[in-house]
Symmetry: C2
Subunit: 320 residues, 2 copies
């Protein structure tokens, strides 16, 4: 085509508002440049950051993302999968918003469409899984308290049938061991994941003959309850005792004092899941294993590491 002819075509495209029909293109080339994201949770606080990075990874490669909510129901998940496959998506991410959840790994034939599990794992089917490194997180939080000079560090843990609880405990023990500190079972308490438990267990710990000089909580909700107990007992945080939570929830920066917390690497996890999926779509060999992404520590006032410097939870920053 001559240069001037090309010019005229482009002109016409602009004038007539011509847009190539991707549907026809997809039909012919039999791939859609689209991935499906099925989540079981669009209420909680963990899925947002993962969604954001998945969308980012996909967009960067020219892929679109179908967002589907299964509400944790098998039937809805299957229905969504059927639709996604009928719509010929190039790949699928199954994202969970809860820690432990039986998705019962779809026993469906997905027709060879690549799948990645996010924030959950399965042994039922050979797929790559991306989850947080809870053990490393447990180690990180404990080590930080040790580095601050704390020596009697208590752990308020979640229910032990959660693997997250088991791993966080393991990390806690590891950190103590690495520092040459003794492991005192009396300093480890287990409850539910809520504030009520944090409150009650903190009370228990503080009435011990030799109370702890730091409390590491396996969730921010537990930590919120612990802070309540400390406030009630007029024990100053972080002067008298350091507190560190886990999960870096939205409210942790709004605690008094602002709560230091081990952050789940949600954004990075979504990014990794997206990358793994997109590579698989492009035919790269998939590394079928459980990818554990390291947690990070968000330092605020409750651990005693900071005086002025404050890490933001989100857009907002804390004064004083």
């Amino acid at each position: 085509m001559s240069e001037s002819a090309r010019q005229r075509v482009l002109e016409a495209i602009g004038k007539l508002n011509y847009r190539p029909n991707t549907i026809a293109r997809s039909l012919r080339k039999s791939h859609t440049v689209t991935i499906g994201l099925i989540t079981d949770d669009l209420e909680g606080v963990f899925t947002m950051a993962m969604m954001r990075s998945i969308e980012e990874a996909a967009s960067a490669c020219g892929f679109s993302v179908f967002l589907c909510n299964s509400y944790g129901e098998m039937s809805r998940e299957r229905a969504h999968l059927e639709v996604l496959l009928a719509k010929q998506v190039s790949g699928i991410i199954l994202m969970s918003g809860y820690k432990v959840r039986e998705r019962g790994a779809p026993a469906m034939d997905l027709g060879g469409v690549p799948v990645v599990y996010l924030y959950q794992y399965t042994w039922d089917v050979p797929v790559p899984c991306v989850i947080p490194d809870d053990e490393g997180g447990g180690n990180l939080g404990t080590k930080h308290l040790i580095d601050l000079g704390r020596r009697r560090i208590a752990l308020i843990n979640g229910p032990m049938h959660f693997e997250a609880s088991q791993l966080r405990l393991l990390g806690y023990q590891q950190a103590l061991k690495n520092a040459g500190l003794p492991f005192d079972p009396a300093l480890v308490r287990t409850g539910k994941w809520n504030e009520q438990s944090g409150y009650e267990l903190a009370h228990e710990l503080l009435t011990l003959p030799t109370p702890p000089d730091a409390i590491f909580c396996a969730s921010d909700s537990l930590a919120a309850g612990a802070l309540d107990a400390l406030h009630e007992l007029q024990i100053h945080v972080p002067k008298d005792i350091s507190v560190v939570g886990f999960d870096n929830r939205y409210f942790s920066g709004y605690q008094r004092p602002p709560l230091s917390s081990v952050a789940l690497p949600l954004y990075e996890m979504g990014l990794l899941a997206g990358e793994i999926l997109l590579n698989a779509i492009q035919g790269a060999p998939v590394n079928v294993k459980i990818h554990r992404v390291p947690c990070t520590l968000v330092k605020r006032k409750s651990c005693g590491a900071l005086s002025d410097q404050i890490a933001p939870v989100h857009q907002e920053r804390r004064y004083s």
Copy 2:
């Protein structure tokens, strides 16, 4: 086809894992049963609930949802729109995560694809818009404090160049007027949307010759700061003073005392936007106007209305 033949076909479908190709179907029928959702925010806290209800409304009608993040950038928004149109979406929702934002209503020819604006409005193009009723919310929060017997109700407001601030003030004044209470300009303070402002302005209010017996804050961040000031001054909430926030953010139930708040009807807004769009897609006449969805009040301890009964923010409940 005979009954037995039908049987055999269904059997074969099951055995061969046949799935009809929606892409081919869409090409032939020239509609895709898919809508696009473009948001400028996948970080904040307002978009989640809207996304959820949009997905719900769409799913219920057999529609899939493309999720796109523009990061508030015009160029990305245009790029996403181009892709969505090329992919022949049946309709588009433009959702904002911020209160006031110039999206500059795409001056693009969308080829007649129906559009709904969500959490923002525009006069630039004739489209239906769905936003919260900020004035009603201002009225609601103030009226509640009046009903609790408060008579000197202060308002800590956001910057007045935000329409939300103007409307919430209007609602506040309306409620006072309806109750026959005087409007005292000294009780109205304006700052930024953050805690720092809430803290400082609450201090100002409480050093007035006749301090207020209630503070209505135009955001939960402002309220968090106000609670800090009250705590510092050892003024008991809600015995000595009632506090009500606005937005019902994730952290409001984690304040001490748990913060009552005027909740944005995010879920309902998403649902309405979805319904409007789906109706438009099905050819129903669109009501091109600004739909203002009423706010609701979430009662917690800080207003003094409750002693035991606690309203949950999300899954979590408060003890005591």
